[in-house]
Amino acid sequence: MTDLYQSQRAMRNMRQQAMQRGVIAVLDIGTFKVACLILKFGVSSGATEGSGVGNMAGQASFRVIGAGTTRSRGVRFGEIAAMAETERAVRTALQTAQKMAQVRVDHAIVCFSGGEARSYGLEGAVELDGAHVVENDIARVLAACEVPDLGAGREVLHAQPVNFMLDHRSGLSDPRGQAGRKLSCDMHLLSIDADVVQNLVHCLKRCDVEMAGLAASSYVSGLASLVEDEQELGSAAIDLGGGATGLSIFIKKHMIFADTVRLGGDHVTTDIAKGLQIPYSAAERIKTFYGGVQATGKDDREIIEVGGDSGDWDKDRRTITRSELIGIMRPRVEEILEEVRARLDAAGFDHLPSQQIVLTGGGSQIPGLDGLAARILGQQVRLGRPMRVQGLPQAATGPAFAGIVGLCLFAAQPQDEWWDFDIPSDRFSARPLRRAMKWFRDNW
């Protein structure tokens, strides 16, 4: 645990260093695409105080100066399956972005959807030493949280304090300086498969880039696609990606639950390819041009040429109707949404005061998806696009880029995590001098 604490702190320091230097890359390693943005910090300090505009989640403090997107290779379910292939894809994206930005980046913040993220809610409580809550008390109460057994080979990816309670008063976001006796906190912990992270780190190292941060893509796409009210009142962001569908639940501007369904748009494409006996690339094209989930009478009359290059004239001249295509796609999309529904139910999403659901990610562009999702997930469903950040190319403003835009926001204004607080001084073993002094004071 201390090892991870140290490595996360090291990553945090690296991020701060890179931001002081002014340039950092954010990298979304997905199943469908690898996207890279290069952010330049310090171009403007954002809105001035008293201008009536908030800090806009920090996105005014940076500017995108380089962007590169390439088709992902060697990634399945958001996890690296073929390291050399993935490395090539990351290199392509990084080089494109670097060429556009005309600057070299050495640090990258990465998000990914694999690794079977699991959420845990932790709580801890301590008695205050003094009359007021001080910094050290926060560290102590965070350290007092009982960490569950994460399982073998799993690591903590996010550990964010989401709520503080002082005596009987709950819902405090910052209890420092307040009077009370007993401080307790709720913490949201997201665990992840350590090997998946190790593979990512290794892959980035092979691209000569150091990892300066790590985030779950379900979390960052929620950051980008949920508006402030939705984050405050309670909502779920569903990131329909290529190989995995991430979902994250936000309330009071904190993520309280995240999970992934290992199903995505790639499975829809594979279904089409299998059903029509056409190559994967042709299936992808047919899906993007003619795909849908709601069949109407007009779709029966809409003929799609399947195409192909097999050399068999009859096979290559086949045609299907659009309703047939919908007939292939819809069961798979329904399956994904049912799976999401099950995860949301397991997380107790129906107990939240507001049950807004936002669909984002590349898969959310299927026409008619909002109607289908409303039938499965509940009435309050909307399609979400990522918020705008300065300098983002037009081609990267679609919902498929929610993850990477959220990662920009994450880089600009990271939420407090457990490792952002110092270890409470009574447990701190790294300062033997102070302990020796304490021993002397106690014993002499």
Binding site: G68, T69, T70, R71, R73, G74, V75, A81, A82, R88, A89, R91, T92, L94, Q95, T96, Q98, K99, V103, R104, C207, D208, D266, A273, G275, L276, Q277, P279, Y280, S281, A282, E284, R285, T288, F289, Y290, G291, E302, I303, I304, V306, G307, G308, D309, G311, R317, R318, T319, I320, E324, L325, G327, I328, G362, Q365, I366, P367, Q394, A395, G398
Partner: protein, 363 residues
């Protein structure tokens, strides 16, 4: 498999229609473009308009996960892997490093240029060759007829001065105007006593024109070494063989006389009524003046207020004919006590008259 059993697949009429029209109007041409179009990957036509942005760099090489596309790929011409090789990637990153970039774009050319020039100049004979070349070029330009000076012309009032100037310059013609240092020549000419100012000019016809303004002699100064002509500022211009040569000029004598030339001039002006009798002025102890008249008469003037004292004597003279009498000297050195020195005969005559008046016998 719904797609395999579609009605159009086995419809013979449709089949025939498509045979008659090898490129039928595609049905999707009537469908508004799908919002998914902007993320379309792998278009079958190469020039698909749905991908407008250079942001996308989809590769044709399928990923390991998409092995299904490989069969289609191999039938087509295989394309290069769009991803940069490790070396290309590293070189690109190196190129984007500011230090390296500046070193390659600025440092290396400068280094190579300076090194090659240095090596080329390392050879002694080559350096000499270059020096000779430039020297030849220089002399070639200097010796052009446009820059040659052939004659010297001196404008001076007297021939003696002109001769002295020519002698002083001692130039051997023809000479290039680049080799003539006119200010230095001017200084050397002005170092001559007789010359007040000189102006040198090289004319376009190759003539060095020297215009000399000579000093104006104002007085003759007699001193231990002989006679000198001096100008109004006391600077000596030339030796004088005899006083008679310039009898028109007033005469001063004594050490330090040229230094007090202004006062001397005032005194000469003041002594105008005595001009027939005036022999000259004598500077005594470099301090004060004596006015010397004929008959060995002297007027001894004080160091301060000499002109006023002289005017006083002249006033006495005009009233009492003082200087016409047998007086050896009028001493005004102490202005409060003017004294008259009589000659021996005048003195004895005075004694005699006094004794006569007082009735004392003539001894």
């Amino acid at each position: 498999m719904p797609a395999m059993s579609g009605p159009y697949r086995f419809d013979p009429s449709h089949d025939r229609a498509s045979r008659h029209h090898p490129r039928p109007v595609r049905p999707h041409a009537f469908v508004p473009p799908s919002p998914l179009a902007d993320i379309a990957r792998e278009p079958i036509e190469d020039s698909h308009p749905a991908i407008p942005s250079a942001l996308y760099s989809w590769s044709d090489e399928p990923g390991a996960a998409h092995g299904a596309a490989r069969s289609e790929q191999t039938s087509r011409k295989t394309r290069r892997d769009p991803s940069p090789s490790r070396l290309a990637y590293r070189l690109n990153r190196l190129w984007l490093t500011p230090v390296i970039r500046r070193g390659v774009t600025v440092g290396a050319p400068v280094l190579i240029l300076s090194l090659s020039i240095g090596l080329w100049l390392g050879d002694e004979s080559r350096r000499d060759q270059i020096a000779t070349f430039f020297n030849d070029l220089r002399t070639g330009i200097e010796n052009r007829p446009e820059f040659q000076v052939n004659t010297l012309s001196v404008d001076a009032r007297s021939d003696a001065v002109a001769q002295a100037v020519i002698q002083r310059l001692s130039l051997s013609f023809p000479v290039s105007s680049f080799h003539l240092d006119l200010p230095a020549l001017r200084r050397s000419i002005e170092a001559l006593n007789a010359v007040e100012t000189a102006a040198l000019r090289i004319g376009s016809d190759g003539v060095l024109q020297v215009s000399v303004t000579e000093r104006e002699p104002a007085m003759v100064w007699r001193h231990r070494g002989g006679l000198d002509l001096v100008d109004s500022e006391g600077r000596s211009i030339a030796r004088l063989a005899a006083r008679d040569v310039r009898a028109d000029l007033p005469l001063v004598a004594g050490e330090g006389a040229p230094e007090a030339m202004a006062e001397a001039r005032q005194l000469f002006d003041a002594a105008h009524p005595l001009r027939d009798r005036l022999r000259g002025l004598v500077r005594v102890s470099e301090r004060r003046w004596d006015v010397v008249l004929d008959r060995d008469q002297r007027i001894l003037l004080p160091a301060q207020g000499a002109v006023a004292a002289l005017e006083r004597v002249l006033a006495l003279d005009s009233v009492q004919d003082l200087l016409a009498r047998d007086v050896r000297a009028v001493d005004l050195r102490d202005p409060s006590r003017p004294t008259i020195r009589l000659s021996q005969t005048a003195m004895s005559e005075l004694h005699r008259i006094r004794n006569q008046a007082s009735g004392v016998s003539d001894r």
